[in-house]
Symmetry: C2
Subunit: 274 residues, 2 copies
Amino acid sequence: MLVNGVPGNSISIRDRGLLYGDGVFRTLRADKGKALHWPLHYLKLKRDCTALGITCPDEALLCAELDKVLAQHPDGVVKLIVTRGAGARGYTPSADVTPTRIWDFSPLPDYPPEWMTQGIKARLCNLRLSIQPRLACVKHLNRLENVLAAAELHDAQSHDHQLAEGLLLDADGHLIEGIRSNLFLVSQGKLTTPDLSRCGVAGIQRGRVMAWALQHGMALQVRDIGLEEALHADEIFIVNSVIGLWPIRELEQRYWSHFPVAAQIRHGLDRQDT
Amino acid sequence: MLVNGVPGNSISIRDRGLLYGDGVFRTLRADKGKALHWPLHYLKLKRDCTALGITCPDEALLCAELDKVLAQHPDGVVKLIVTRGAGARGYTPSADVTPTRIWDFSPLPDYPPEWMTQGIKARLCNLRLSIQPRLACVKHLNRLENVLAAAELHDAQSHDHQLAEGLLLDADGHLIEGIRSNLFLVSQGKLTTPDLSRCGVAGIQRGRVMAWALQHGMALQVRDIGLEEALHADEIFIVNSVIGLWPIRELEQRYWSHFPVAAQIRHGLDRQDT
């Protein structure tokens, strides 16, 4: 793959991405040689870099690199990592480092297509997300909480192979997100999504759902959500750039079988993709 | 330096240490070809690996690699990183990855020697540590909070170049640690160090001070400490494996000039080094 524009699959052991998780990343869907929603991904990358005080690489430079990746791998999952770069010892980020740009590719995961229409089984993780307003929303490389939650889900999957996602509460008991997805509730035709000002990752598919709701006059609230509220919602669904949109059909002994609003939104988002 | 036993200075872009900060590290002092307190470092490495579910490399293997590093670099700072290894896409840690072992070296920083005896000026950081009991004590690679705090300290140093360390409170206002050090208070001849069960890194020098206190019949408490209590302590000092022990002579408009207990402990620890 590409590292700083050059074919390669390694980085320096002094890269701050490794040393401290000092960087951000994007996971994008490549479809017929096109990176879906690239402008949104770049905007988010830039915002996340700013949150960490990393100089975001120019869009033209990244676009040129992305084109090289897509020429080789027109369909699948493209990952872009931008780290602060390789620097001197110590936590202090020196101003004169050049950010590292890393592109990688993997095939599209082979998820059962019925998960999109009939929904998935999800599970509440025991791990609670910590509250850190300075890093909230940012898709940075400090992802140990996700790793621990994914390990927990993996253990649960050995007893129940239908489990497809774990949902995460924060330390205060608010429902925040899925391990690798953002979350929406539908209640009486209205959408609600968790407030991510204290923890969580604000993904671009979340932004797309919110934009769609605004455009289509669907009421939308961004606020704290408790587990009980979620369990009593008419629909719950999760989104990310790889899976698209999956409704939840089972969570904590609650069952759902109809997802009209989720289906409407999924069709709406799909239409924008073409 | 060494990567998995082979001279090299790069790792795979698919290493989970980079992708998720999924690993742990040690910073050790090399002195005349000897790694100080290696047994304590290995014990801590093993404990930290266990906390993340990483299989800790055998001590014999690491010792052989360490010997190679010390043969080339007998004096300075040795860093050892152990990551979960390179694996498939996604947060889930698969069982069949081999941990990556990374050794790096840097010269001993050139700190003013009087900081050991006359103390340093420290500053309270605005950044608050988040509370995550699952990761507390562990020296893992998710260090963005330290990076943000170090950036804050660096900004403050541009106005006040005497500042040598930043102290960190957690989200609840408890004093936890320095950006790169652990912290002790001395009050009426008794030692107190912050409880690190919810956040912070429990370094091996902290353990050494605690062991020294026990051996020498000095009362020691591990508990929550508020800022006010710290500002009214008879002495405050910080420790880590590179700096050793530094008393604090100034913090938040409070001044200290005598550090008899800190000096006693520093001498005690130094004697163990020889």
